[in-house]
Structures are given as structure tokens and as C-alpha cells.
């Protein structure tokens, strides 16, 4: 039995609806009788149609101005909840999603469930599954307090599919006041250059770890291979912490969750915190010189060998095929 009204705290990404928002809306269609979105963005009309197609009958839109999106999100949600009484609100475990969730929970004194990977609804009983210990164990928790229930999910927990809904009617929300919290002002945006597809959206992800041996090997081995496969390049935390590549490339518990068609791990041992971010990939290829490396326990094709020997040959072969 579905629950009454489900909201999704939707976010934008480079002027479009974020993939995670569309994933949550798709799931919300299964869970509730009514599905609506709350969006904090200065150009909601560009984003609402996609949210509508994925299930949002209405899109409540607030303009953050130069305040932080998540902070304004918390304030906007608090205001809207009073009027519209949703039963369940879904958030993405993103920077702004977490800020909005945290602000809202403290404002309304509501508990939260975070890092969710699945959700079950049976009428007013809502259970969220969370993977712990690097994904080895699944804990299921049911809300027992007042509504609305606030739940936050790791990206890629659900598949995004358009449901043929309408364009999503935009309802402007005015007069949102975040108080002193709203005094945190965004004064400038810095966008880092990226080539090829985004890590979260790529069909192929090639990631490198400490086994690359040096920072200088990342470009000719990992990036080159990713480029040839029209994929994105990722990394383990070890080489992010070592300063070889920027944090944006990190895959794992404290980085991105990816579910590409193929994930290629080069010189990565397979720590649980890394695997939790990539073990949902359709196919996994691992290259590691240690036959006992944990990564082999989840690899569909495991190559025991020296990455600095195997990968250049692989790149040669792909180039020879004109790929």
C-alpha cells in the first residue's frame, strides 16, 4: 500500500535536473499517491519539465538568491511542510541535499535516516536500508516518530526513468527566510575543467590507485584509456589524498558512487570503502600485481599483472583497432 504524499528535494546540475533527483522521483512514483518536488534554484522553468517527466506533478520553487541552496532548501521545506503536509521527503546524499536535510531536521525536530540504498513503504510504515561496513551488511530501519519522514539516499540507489508525466507545474514559493543562516553568501563559483562524460554518468569508468606507482602515470595510463573507451577517469582515495588527482575523481564511501557498464580498476587494492562506491557496476575488470588483492573477489575479469606493462599494451591494441 502506498503512502500519501511523497516529496523529493530536487537539485540542479549545470542548468539541468540532477541525475540523482530523477532517480529519487522515479522511485517516489512507486511509493506515493502524490509525488511533488521542491526545488531551490533561480531558473526553475528550465528544470521543472524534466522533473515533471519523472513524476513531479508540482514543482515548488524557491529562489536562493546568493544564499546557499541547502540552507534555503531547509527553510523553504519547513515553510511548505506546514501548508502541504507531505508524509515522506527524499533527499540525495549530496552537498546541498545534506545541508537541506540537516537544517530541516533540526528546525522541525525530526529524525533522519541517511546513506540509504533502498526503501520500502507499507502504508505509513517506511523502512530504509543502509549498507554498512563497506557494503557487507544491510541494516533496515523503520521510522517510528512523527511525519514527515526524512530519508537521504546515496546516488545510483535507484534507476531514473521518465514516466510520461506532464511538465510539472511550477509553484513559486516567496518569502522564504533562513534567518542568520541565510547570511552565508556565495560570492563566486569556480568550475574545474572536465573532458568527456561525468564520472556518475559514464558508461565506462577507468580508475587508478596507488599501484600506478607515481602521479605521472595517471595521465598516460588511466586518462588515456578512459578517453579511448569514451569513459570517465576515477581514482582511489589513496591517490586523491596524495595529491595526484583532484577530489572530484574519488570513487567510494567518501567519494562518488558509480554504476557504469564497465569499471576498470588499475592498481587498486579493493578496500571496502572503495568497493562500496563501485561494486554496483555491471562488469568489473581489475588489474593488480597481487593475486590476493581483495578487488579480485568482485572482478568479472581479474588480471594478475603489472599495470605499467598491461595497460600500455591495452592502449596500443585499442588504438590499433581504431577505437
Amino acid at each position: 500500500m502506498p503512502i500519501g504524499k511523497v516529496w523529493v528535494f530536487a537539485e540542479s546540475d549545470e542548468g539541468k535536473a540532477s541525475t540523482a533527483s530523477l532517480e529519487l522521483l522515479t522511485k517516489a512514483r512507486e511509493l506515493g499517491d502524490t509525488v511533488e518536488a521542491v526545488l531551490v534554484d533561480s531558473s526553475p522553468d528550465a528544470i521543472a519539465p524534466e522533473l515533471g517527466e519523472h513524476g513531479a506533478a508540482k514543482v515548488y520553487a524557491a529562489d536562493p538568491g546568493t544564499s546557499l541552496t541547502g540552507v534555503m532548501g531547509g527553510a523553504a521545506l519547513a515553510k511548505l511542510i506546514e501548508e502541504h503536509k507531505p508524509d515522506l521527503i527524499l533527499f540525495d546524499q549530496s552537498y546541498d541535499g545534506r545541508d537541506a536535510l540537516a537544517r530541516l531536521s533540526a528546525k522541525l525536530d525530526l529524525p533522519t535516516l541517511t546513506n540509504g540504498s533502498a526503501i520500502e513503504v507499507d502504508g505509513d510504515s517506511v523502512t530504509v536500508a543502509t549498507a554498512i561496513f563497506g557494503g557487507n551488511t544491510i541494516v533496515k530501519t523503520t521510522f517510528s516518530g512523527p511525519k514527515p519522514f526524512l530519508a537521504c539516499f546515496r546516488p545510483k540507489s535507484f534507476a531514473a526513468e521518465a514516466g510520461g508525466g506532464g511538465a510539472g507545474e511550477v509553484v513559486k514559493v516567496e518569502g522564504v527566510d533562513a534567518g542568520r543562516a541565510g547570511e552565508a553568501q556565495v560570492t563566486d563559483h569556480h568550475v574545474e575543467e572536465r573532458e568527456g562524460p561525468k564520472l556518475e554518468d559514464a558508461e565506462v569508468v577507468v580508475s587508478g590507485g596507488r599501484g600506478l606507482g607515481s602521479a605521472e602515470n595517471y595521465e598516460p595510463l588511466v586518462e588515456e584509456l578512459a578517453k579511448l573507451l569514451k569513459g570517465a577517469s576515477g581514482a582511489s582515495r589513496a591517490i586523491v589524498d596524495a595529491g595526484w588527482v583532484p577530489y572530484a575523481k574519488q570513487v567510494g564511501q567518501t567519494g562518488k558512487t558509480v554504476k557504469p557498464k564497465v569499471y576498470i580498476a588499475i592498481g587498486i587494492s579493493g578496500a571496502t570503502q572503495h568497493m562500496v562506491g563501485m561494486k554496483g557496476s555491471d562488469n568489473i575488470v581489475a588489474i593488480n600485481k597481487d593475486a590476493e588483492a581483495p578487488i579480485f573477489s568482485i572482478a568479472d575479469l581479474g588480471v594478475v599483472g603489472d599495470a605499467t606493462k598491461v595497460v600500455p599494451k591495452l592502449i596500443e591494441a585499442l588504438k590499433a583497432k581504431g577505437g
Binding site: A102, S105, P111, T187, D300, G302, V310, L314
Partner: protein, 260 residues
């Protein structure tokens, strides 16, 4: 400038975690250590106070069994004193209850210009506590900072975003959460370790903070763990030894999947 920095004391992450089948919480037996994530917050706070030319760094930790070993590490790094909240009533506390405790501890410390936390703890990683604390205090929160500066009564950070970073500023007092790797945490010196033994730790109970038992612990969490299961395991496929031709196998595998 007075900085209050949140430090979580956690079981050694190198030891595989375990759930207590009775209470369904993480087992927190034995010695706890300073969460690595918070070592960055401590270092950042020390640097900010030094740059501001005065003021103190105070630690706040909520931990079971009056645990202080992690606090001593942070005191040895240079923090002046600590508030430790330890109370059997806190068992089962969720992030909001933890945030309530920390916010009350900030008020207890008094005269705080800046609260520093990590973005997420190593063992809990909800990442919600910083903004919850800020909301409870009615302060701005500047989360996911990879660079922090203080001046003219305001704090300015580089906030990590999906695309790069944003410059964000707010008047003090405020809460800042810092990402791992923002600074290089110092190693405590021998002198620091010795001095830490005599630095004051203010022990507070839930009631001392003006909170009631139903706001924290199991009662405050208002959620129930209904099951704990092993996740379905992914099966290993084929494993081959490279004899100079492994790349051909990879090419064949990729062809079969039609990615090339």
C-alpha cells in the same frame, strides 16, 4: 578568537566493525581513538587561532564511558581544554541528538566565535551534524570547506561542489565543516603529550546541559532497527595471470560487452 572544535572518538577503523546483536549499535568497546577526519579540524582550528593572534581552541566530544584517549591526542596537538559529554542516557543517540548535545556544549563553553567539525565521521558518516548544530544555534553553516580564512569578523571558505568550488562567506559566529586533507595535521610533540595530561576536561552529563533524557539516546531517535542482514555477495569471475597477452583478453572482454 575562540574556536570550538568537535572531535569524535571512534573505534580503530583498521579493526573490522561489528554490531552488538543486543543493542544493534556499533560495538564501541576498548580504547577509542581520535577520528582521523577530526584531526584536520583540530589542526585548522589551531592555525586559525594562531593567525588571529590569540584566543583558545576548545574541544567538544560526546563519547561513551568517559573516554578521553582521543581527546588527549587533540589536546597534545595544542588545544587548550575540552568538554566531554558522557552519559549512559546517550546510548543510541542519532545525529540530531548528537547535534543537540554539541549545540548545548557550545553554549556551555560560551564566547565561541567559530565551531569547526569534519564533514563526516569515519564510523557514522551521516554528514548532517554540522548543519544541525548550526540550525540549533541559529548560526550560519559553511559546509564542505576545503580552504578557510578568518578576517574582519567574518569567515570565508572554498566550498567543495560537484563542478569545482564556491567562495562562501558569513559573519561570525558560524559553523564550518572541513573536508579531509585541508591541512596537514601536526604530530603531537613530547612536550605536548606531557602538557595534555594536565589540561582541563570539563565532564558534563545530559542534565547539566539542560537536555532531558527523552531528547537523546534511544528515546530521542524515534526509529527502530528492524533487521540486519549480510548483503548479497558479488561473485568473482575469471582470474588470469599476465603472460604478456592479458591485454588481448581485456580487449575480447570489452568487445563481448560491445563497449568497443
Amino acid at each position: 578568537m575562540n574556536v570550538l572544535v568537535c572531535v569524535k572518538q571512534i573505534p580503530d577503523p583498521a579493526v573490522p566493525g561489528e554490531l552488538d546483536p543486543e543493542t544493534k549499535t556499533l560495538k564501541r568497546e576498548g580504547k577509542l581513538i581520535l577520528d582521523d577526519s577530526d584531526a584536520y579540524g583540530v589542526e585548522m582550528s589551531l592555525q586559525l587561532a594562531e593567525k588571529a593572534g590569540g584566543g583558545e581552541v576548545t574541544l567538544v566530544s560526546m563519547a561513551p564511558n568517559d573516554e578521553v584517549s582521543g581527546l588527549r591526542t587533540a589536546l597534545a596537538m595544542g588545544a587548550a581544554k575540552a568538554i566531554l559529554v558522557s552519559d549512559p542516557e546517550l546510548q543510541g543517540s542519532d545525529s540530531l541528538a548528537t547535534a543537540k548535545v554539541i549545540a548545548k556544549a557550545v553554549e556551555r563553553a560560551g564566547d565561541v566565535d567559530l565551531v569547526v567539525t569534519a564533514t563526516e565521521s569515519t564510523d557514522g558518516y551521516t554528514g548532517t551534524i554540522p548543519a544541525q548544530v548550526a540550525e540549533l544555534l541559529g548560526w550560519p553553516s559553511l559546509t564542505f570547506a576545503k580552504h578557510v580564512e578568518i578576517g574582519d569578523g567574518k569567515v570565508t571558505i572554498q566550498r567543495q561542489t560537484e563542478a569545482g568550488y564556491d567562495m562562501v562567506e558569513a559573519p561570525l559566529p558560524a559553523v564550518v565543516s572541513v573536508t579531509a586533507g585541508v591541512v596537514e595535521p601536526r604530530y603531537p610533540s613530547f612536550k605536548g603529550i606531557m602538557a595534555a595530561k594536565n589540561k582541563p576536561v570539563d565532564n558534563a552529563k545530559v542534565a547539566d546541559l539542560g537536555l532531558s533524557g527523552d531528547q537523546v539516546g534511544w528515546a530521542g531517535a524515534r526509529q527502530e532497527i528492524v533487521s540486519i542482514e549480510a548483503a548479497p555477495e558479488r561473485q568473482a569471475g575469471e582470474k588470469i595471470e599476465d603472460e604478456g597477452d592479458a591485454h588481448e583478453r581485456i580487449v575480447a572482454f570489452l568487445e563481448q560487452l560491445k563497449v568497443i
